[in-house]
């Protein structure tokens, strides 16, 4: 007998209901927890990367988030809130890590060959410009962007994570987008 693989792990939603897997994970079933990890890890890393702007920091944040998640998973009362709860934990960890790093600015990149091709080059925001613009944002602003455009959360979901009201989220997002619009040369 050797190590068993987790066959079908990526079929989290299809194979079993979220509720059942969540219940098993809360009860201490590591394999069930692994299925949750498999289902949401990529989402969480993307959010953390959006906030931290560095791969290593993002991975640190997500790793810390999974440790918290294992312990606190029982607090998720409704399975359909699992994703937003995990995103919230990750975002907090990412913000904590960024703060700990002393709010350092991300290095500005020189303009060069874009890393990604876009279907419509004339319409695209360049990767370098975007990276530099994001690098100039404060951690809270990066969090706002990551939660809205990375995690696709709405303002009522983002509010509790950042300690803002939903209208406060919308207002800050609007101001941020206005700023980014100027910085990215859309005016």
């Amino acid at each position: 007998m050797g190590t068993k693989s987790l066959s079908g792990m990526t079929g989290f939603a299809a194979a079993e209901s979220n509720a059942a897997v969540l219940e098993q994970a809360v009860a201490g079933d590591e394999v069930a927890f692994a299925r949750i990890v498999a289902a949401y890890h990529a989402d969480l890393v993307r959010v953390a990367y959006g906030i931290c702007g560095e791969r290593d920091l993002a991975l640190d944040a997500v790793q810390a988030a999974w440790l918290i998640a294992w312990r606190k998973l029982g607090h998720v009362r409704q399975p359909d809130r699992l994703r937003s709860w995990l995103v919230a934990v990750t975002a907090n960890e990412a913000r904590r890590i960024v703060r700990k790093r002393g709010r350092r600015r991300l290095v500005e990149l020189a303009a060069g060959k874009p890393e990604h091709s876009d279907p419509d080059p004339t319409d695209a925001i360049s990767r370098v410009d975007l990276g530099n613009a994001l690098g100039r944002l404060k951690p809270e602003e990066r969090s706002l962007i990551a939660l809205r455009y990375g995690a696709d959360l709405d303002s009522t979901e983002i509010g509790p994570i950042l300690g803002l009201t939903a209208s406060g989220v919308r207002a800050r997002l609007a101001r941020l987008m206005t700023r980014l619009r100027k910085e990215l040369g859309d005016d």
Binding site: E30, V31, A32, I68, A124, L130, M177
Partner: protein, 542 residues
């Protein structure tokens, strides 16, 4: 920005490409196992310490002596200059089995102050390995004391299984606090209330877990006010501000909507003069003279929520006169609180042991729900419950399998839980064995009728080094963990663990089988069996 803003659409598209650079590959099972292993046991032996009673601690201490558990190998002298730990007996009594404590620093729980509304207030969180709704302790250090210099108490409490949130000690002196209509004091207590809300409503806390607010010295006074006001805190200050024309609220909680309910208060040489006024021989009179309305409001909180349990510690030679806590105790007793004042020999420095014991003694009765008076099912009687295990999953470690078996379960459960087992092991159920850094753990689920069930844990060529009680919904009653050294014909030791279960409760079975001084490489030759409940407890796995 509108919903169909072309720029927003372009930005979203570019941003998603940017996020695609994130490294998203993962070995999910490894992440899960790492999380489980770290949370349960940390990286060494004796990593599991729920809130044991004194009797159980004593029993375990005996077990420690029997098993020779030590972080220093016998006969091995520390190198000159090496940093070693030689805890006193008093320290041992509270830290016999330290758990791995995770510390999460610098969590923002509030913003604002009456001088700078962008100030971020941060706390540090200490968390032990207990699962479920762990008791929460919010601690307020003394005047001007940074949370970074107040780490011993939260560490000790977390080792006992609590989740501890520590804020910074209060800044304004009493005089400054009540200046300008008391806005400094409002800021101070609002920040403490925000920490309680954070403990209740953030993802790190719990709305339902028992919560104790403790405070040292000046922190004890502000903690007392927040605890006494409880859920009425916000409305109380709102009404006070309206009726007196101030002070304004300047603190914004990160988790603004959560409750400020507190279940227990532990005042550690606290400055309760703020409630006492003319009755105080200390400077409570100062408050009465300079802020009479504020003092009246503060005093009115005594009796607001008499279900609060109050424990006070006071030194008999403290510069803070004993009359202050004594008067506060008398007022609280008169108002119907469950209150106890413990006077110790000493000044303003409180013995750590006494502090930890006082807080944990208060936490445990809050944490343990009343149990139904049911007799334990005799082991000789047929047990009608079933043991159902999670997914069977064996871990291979450098070519050697570590296999766990559950003995004595009924056949139906075996069939359901371990359909893949061959005939040679058909009377057993396999539990998952997780191998971490020097740690062996096992876990499963059981649904059993109420009763006390022995859990036998034994390791073939290793010694069974430590045991923890299972987590029964985060709760356990006293005296239900035992350690035995009966060898049972095996070359090593046999440890027995028994525990109470409510019907339907999930249990977690833990075994930290490897002493810290054991070469991790040697673990590959150590087969471990974990035996859960058994009508025939002597049944051997092979």
């Amino acid at each position: 920005m509108t919903e169909h803003d072309p720029f927003e659409a372009r930005f979203r598209r570019a941003y998603r490409l940017y996020l695609d650079e994130a490294p998203t590959e993962v070995d999910a099972l490894a992440v899960a196992r790492r999380a489980a292993a770290q949370r349960r046991f940390g990286s060494g032996a004796w990593r599991w310490m729920p809130a044991f009673s004194a009797g159980v601690i004593a029993t375990l201490l005996v077990g420690v002596l029997i098993f020779g558990v030590s972080t220093v190998q016998p006969g091995v002298q520390p190198a000159p200059g090496a940093v070693t730990s030689s805890p006193s007996p008093e320290v041992l009594a509270t830290s016999v089995a330290p758990v791995e404590v995770a510390v999460i620093e610098d969590l923002v729980y509030a913003t604002g102050s009456h001088t700078d509304d962008t100030t971020e207030l941060e706390l540090d969180l200490y968390s032990g390995a207990r699962l479920g709704d762990t008791p929460i302790i919010v601690h307020v250090p003394g005047h001007n004391q940074s949370r970074k210099s107040a780490t011993v108490l939260p560490q000790a409490l977390a080792e006992h299984g609590a989740t501890v949130l520590v804020v910074d000690g209060s800044r304004p002196e009493p005089e400054a606090a009540i200046a300008d209509d008391g806005r400094g004091f409002r800021e101070l207590v609002e920040s403490v209330a925000c920490a309680v809300r954070f403990a209740r409503g953030s993802e790190y806390g719990s709305e339902t877990a028992p919560l104790v607010l403790s405070g040292y010295s000046y922190g004890g006074g502000s903690a007392a006010h927040v605890a006494l006001a409880g859920e009425s805190f916000a409305s109380l200050w709102e009404e006070y501000g309206e009726s007196t024309g101030g002070p304004p609220s300047v603190i914004e909680c990160t988790v603004g909507e959560a409750s400020t309910r507190v279940d227990g208060l532990v005042g550690i040489v606290g400055t309760y003069d703020i409630f006492i006024g003319e009755e105080s021989r200390w400077d409570g009179a100062y408050w009465l003279e300079h802020a009479p309305e504020l003092q009246q409001m503060l005093q009115s909180t005594i009796g607001m929520h008499p279900e609060l349990k109050v424990r006070l510690l006071a030194g008999d030679s403290d510069w803070l006169p004993i009359e202050v806590p004594a008067t506060f105790e008398a007022l609280a007793t008169e108002a119907g609180y469950d209150v106890a004042l413990t006077e110790f020999a000493g000044g303003h420095i409180v013995p750590m042991e006494l502090t930890v014991t006082t807080i944990m003694d208060l936490v445990d009765p809050l944490a343990v729900a009343p149990r139904a008076a049911t007799d334990p099912a005799p082991l000789s009687e047929p047990t009608t419950g079933t043991i159902t295990l999670g997914i069977t999953d064996l871990v291979e470690m450098e070519g050697q399998e570590l296999v766990g078996y559950i003995l004595g379960s009924d056949e139906e459960a075996q069939d359901e839980a371990a359909p893949e087992e061959d005939a040679a092991t058909s009377n057993r159920e396999v539990v998952r064995i997780v191998v971490g850094d020097g740690v062996v753990s096992a876990s499963g689920r059981a649904e059993l009728p109420p009763g006390t069930y022995p859990l036998w844990v034994f390791a073939g060529e290793s010694r069974c080094e430590s045991l923890g009680r299972p987590m029964c919904g985060g709760q356990a009653s006293e005296g239900d963990a035992k350690v035995s050294s009966e060898p049972m014909g095996y070359p090593d030791y046999l440890c027995m663990l028994s525990f109470d279960l409510e019907a339907g409760e999930h249990i977690r079975i833990g075994l930290s089988g490897l002493p810290p001084n054991l070469d991790p490489q040697s673990t590959k030759t150590v087969p471990c069996w974990v035996s859960s409940w058994a009508r025939e407890p002597w049944k051997q796995p092979h």
